[in-house]
Symmetry: C2
Subunit: 209 residues, 2 copies
DNA sequence: GTCATTCTCAATCAATTGATTGATTGATGA
DNA sequence: TCATCAATCAATCAATTGATTGAGAATGAC
C-alpha cells in the first residue's frame, strides 16, 4: 500500500478528507485525464503546496481517493439492515439501493468507473478496487444461491452467472441515454422475471414461511 | 463533425490509417490519460510534425479514432449473414460474435470503453459514439421483439429492458477477473435461460413453425 | 515570553507536451 | 530544366503540470 503522510492530526485528517472530496468531484467531472493537482487544491480552498504537504504525490492522492471510495462503499453497505429478510427481498433492496445511488449520488458511480478503467493499467489501483468489486459480486452470488435454495428464484439459476448479469444490467442502465429512472425500473422488473422472482409482495416483511 | 485535413491523397489516407491504428493501440494500452502525440507518431514510424501535417490536432485525432472505430463496427456487422435465421439463432450468433471479439480483438472493446468514458465529457465524441451504441442496442431490441412475437423467447420479455440486460451482461463479463471464457459461457447460458430460449438446437435452421 | 511543532503559501523549478517553423526531399508536369 | 506541391523532419516554442523551496503564521507547551 502506498503510505500517506503521517500527519495524523485532526487538521491533517480534515484536510485530507477535503482533498479527497475535491479530487472525487473533479474526477467525476473530468475523469483522471483532466485531473490537475492545482484544480484539486483550488477546489479544496488551499494552496498547491499545502496539498502536497498533506498528500505528498499524485500517486498518493489516487490511493487516497481509492481509500475514500472504499470507506463510502463499506459505510453504505453497513447502513442496510437486512436481517430476517428473504433472498428475494434482499435482492429487491439491492436494486432499490442502486436506484437511490444512481439518482442521488451518481458521482460515486462515475468515480468508481474511472477507477476501474485506471485499475486495468495500475496494479496499485487494481489492488484497491478488487476487494470492493469482489465483495459486491460475492454478495449477489450469495443472495442468488440462497434464493435458489429457498425457492425464491428459478431452480436452474446459476448464481455466479446471475451475479454478473445482475451487476452488468444495473451498471448498463447508466450507459442508457434515458436520464429518467423509467428505463431502470423496466430493467429491474425484467431482472425479477428473468430470475423467476415473483412480483413485489404487498409489504409484509415479517410474514415468512 | 471535426474536419480532418483535406489531404485526400493515397499517401495521406495510408498515413491517417496508420496514425489511427497507432493511436488505438496506445489507447487500449494506456487509455486517453496516457495518450501522447509523440508516442503515436513514434509507433506509426513518423515524425511528430508529419503526424500534425496529416492530423492537425489532438482533437482531430480523437475524431479520427472515433471514425476508425465506427468503420470497424460497421464492417464487423456487415460481415455477418443472418438472413433466414430465427431470432433465437441470431441472438446466439450475437453472443458468439461477442465471444470471438472478446478473445481475439479485445482492444476494440478497450478503446470503445475509453471512448464511452470520454464521451461523457466531450460532446463531439458523444456524437460519434451515439450512433454505434444506439444501433447495437436497437439491433438487440429488434431481435428480442421478433423472438417474443415468434415464440422463441418468453412471452413477457420486455425487449427494451432485455437489450440493456443482454449488453450489460456481456460487457460485464469483461470486468470479471476470470481471464478464460468459461465464465462468459456460463453467463451466455444463463442469459438463454433467463430469456426463455431453449438449449442450442441440433442445427435445423429450416424447421420452424 | 519563547521555543518547537504544525501548517500555509507565493514563487519557482524541471520536465513534459501539443503544436509550429523553416528547411529539405521527391515526384509530377509543363 | 524548372516550377509546383505534397510530404517529411530536426529544432524549437509556449504553455502546462507535478513537485519543491524557503519564508513566514498559527498553535500549544512550558
Amino acid at each position: 500500500m502506498i503510505a500517506c503522510t503521517d500527519h495524523n492530526t485532526p487538521t491533517g485528517d480534515r484536510r485530507r478528507a477535503a482533498i479527497a472530496a475535491a479530487a472525487r468531484a473533479l474526477i467525476a467531472e473530468r475523469g483522471f485525464e483532466g485531473l490537475r493537482t492545482r484544480d484539486i487544491a483550488a477546489r479544496a480552498g488551499i494552496n498547491v503546496a499545502t496539498m502536497h504537504y498533506h498528500v505528498p504525490s499524485k500517486e498518493a492522492l489516487v490511493a487516497l481517493v481509492a481509500q475514500s471510495l472504499r470507506d463510502d462503499f463499506i459505510a453504505q453497505h453497513n447502513a442496510r439492515p437486512r436481517a430476517g429478510l428473504s433472498a428475494g427481498e434482499i435482492l429487491r433492496l439491492e436494486i432499490a439501493d442502486f436506484r437511490e445511488t444512481r439518482e442521488h449520488n451518481i458521482d460515486l458511480f462515475r468515480v468508481m468507473a474511472e477507477m476501474m478503467e485506471k485499475a486495468r493499467r495500475d496494479e496499485n489501483i487494481a489492488a484497491a478496487m478488487r476487494p470492493m468489486q469482489g465483495f459486491w459480486h460475492r454478495q449477489i452470488v450469495d443472495i442468488l444461491a440462497r434464493g435458489v435454495a429457498e425457492g425464491d428464484f428459478r431452480a436452474d439459476l446459476d448464481p455466479q452467472a446471475g451475479a454478473t448479469i445482475f451487476l452488468g444490467a444495473l451498471i448498463g442502465t447508466m450507459r442508457h441515454p434515458d436520464p429518467t429512472s423509467a428505463h431502470f425500473d423496466r430493467v429491474a422488473a425484467e431482472i425479477a422475471r428473468a430470475f423467476g422472482l415473483g412480483p413485489s409482495q404487498p409489504a409484509l416483511p415479517v410474514a415468512k414461511a
